[in-house]
């Protein structure tokens, strides 16, 4: 029982950590000499390491907003889980927690999809996707599974 609880919390925290790293580290696109998006474009030109703010297009701002919202909703879901753990009656389901976590996963999915579809507008063809982008895609199923587990789980004792 305790092991199950620990496992669920660990899964949730793992998804949350992946979301944080993906949002904060600015490596959604990388090339040999530069990394860019979501917040900074840093390039190692012959003058050394040099960072500029990222382009202010509408779509990249939408991706920023969706990633931040997913972090907020995932944190709220964790907080609600602990609340519901102590206040829910026996046999009740963690609907609220699960809803927030599933919403967070949907936000990450939308953010990643929007980035995938619209990034060719401002990213050169020779650049590849960086690890932050991959972490966002990994965080999406983790958060989704975590949310579904909350919806199915029943409180015992």
């Amino acid at each position: 029982m305790l092991l199950l609880l620990l496992g669920i919390i660990l899964l949730h925290v793992a998804a949350l950590v992946l979301l944080f790293v993906s949002t904060i580290v600015s490596v959604w696109t990388s090339s040999e000499t530069s990394t860019s998006d979501l917040w900074y474009n840093c390039s190692t030109s012959n003058g050394g390491y040099h960072c500029d703010p990222a382009s202010t297009g509408e779509w990249i701002q939408a991706v920023q907003a969706l990633m931040i919202l997913s972090i907020i909703f995932s944190c709220l879901s964790l907080f609600l889980f602990f609340c519901q753990l102590f206040t829910l009656q026996k046999g009740g389901r963690f609907f609220l927690t699960g809803t927030f976590q599933i919403l967070a996963s949907l936000f990450v999915m939308s953010g990643a999809i929007i980035y995938t579809v619209t990034s060719p507008d401002w990213v050169a063809q020779t650049d590849t996707f960086g690890y932050s982008y991959i972490l966002a895609w990994v965080a999406f199923p983790l958060a989704l599974i975590s949310g579904l587990i909350y919806v199915i789980l029943r409180k015992r004792e």
Binding site: T56, Q61, A62, A65, I68
Partner: protein
């Protein structure tokens, strides 16, 4: 109150030492504009001296990526001289008021080649020591959205909706609970009335026998 302030300012102007008297020129830092539009580049100055009749304003322009500046406007001796040979011929107009220390110019019908730095230099004899101030002009095809506007808007709307849903949910619960409470009170009240009426009926005939003196 006003006379006191006037007297104080006159005294201060008198005792301020010569060395701190330098002319300070103000322009914007950066200006954004669309291709084909007009833009007003403002220039004003602060000087401890009264505005003299020989006040001069001059604007010079340095294109982006070039090291040479070209003079495009000069105001002196009460007359304004605009560019009639350079890149801004027929596109420059003086819209300032030198009497009010305003040396602003109006650039019409902007082109992409107008990207660059405009420097305003003003002199208010005898106050001539000062640094010219520069404003950078950026000409866009389409005005870009500032960083963070859409981000903030999306986050604000979603969180606002969340708060709204929570508030509506609790409001509904409160209203429903109140309605249920008032219904139950009215039912309880009716039952009480009926109960007391029933009790008053059989009571009087039993009383006379039970009254003690």
């Amino acid at each position: 109150m006003l006379t006191f302030l006037a007297l104080a300012s006159v005294v201060l102007l008198g005792i301020v030492p010569e060395r701190s008297q330098a002319i300070v020129i103000y322009t914007g830092w950066e200006r954004h504009a669309l291709v084909g539009s007009d833009i007003r580049l403002s220039c004003s100055f602060f000087s401890w001296r009264w505005t003299s009749e020989d006040v001069t304003f001059s604007w010079t322009y340095r294109p982006d990526g070039s090291r040479d500046s070209i003079s495009i406007f000069h105001y002196t001796g009460g007359a304004a001289y605009v560019d009639n040979k350079g890149p801004f011929r027929d596109r420059l107009e003086f819209v300032g008021n030198p009497g009010r220390r305003d040396g602003s110019i109006l650039l019409k019908n902007l082109e992409f080649a107008d990207n660059g730095t405009f420097t305003c230099d003003a002199k208010n004899p005898p106050d001539i020591v000062g640094r010219p101030s520069s404003v950078r002009l950026l000409v866009f095809e389409k005005v870009p959205i500032q960083a963070g506007v859409i981000t903030g808007a999306i986050i604000g709307v979603v969180l606002g909706l969340l708060v709204l849903i929570v508030v509506i949910y609790y409001l509904m619960r409160f209203l429903v609970a109140r309605r249920v409470f008032s219904l139950s009170v009215s039912k309880h009240g009716k039952k009480k009335k009926e109960g007391s009426q029933q009790r008053q009926g059989p009571a009087p005939p039993a009383d006379p026998s039970k009254i003690k003196v």
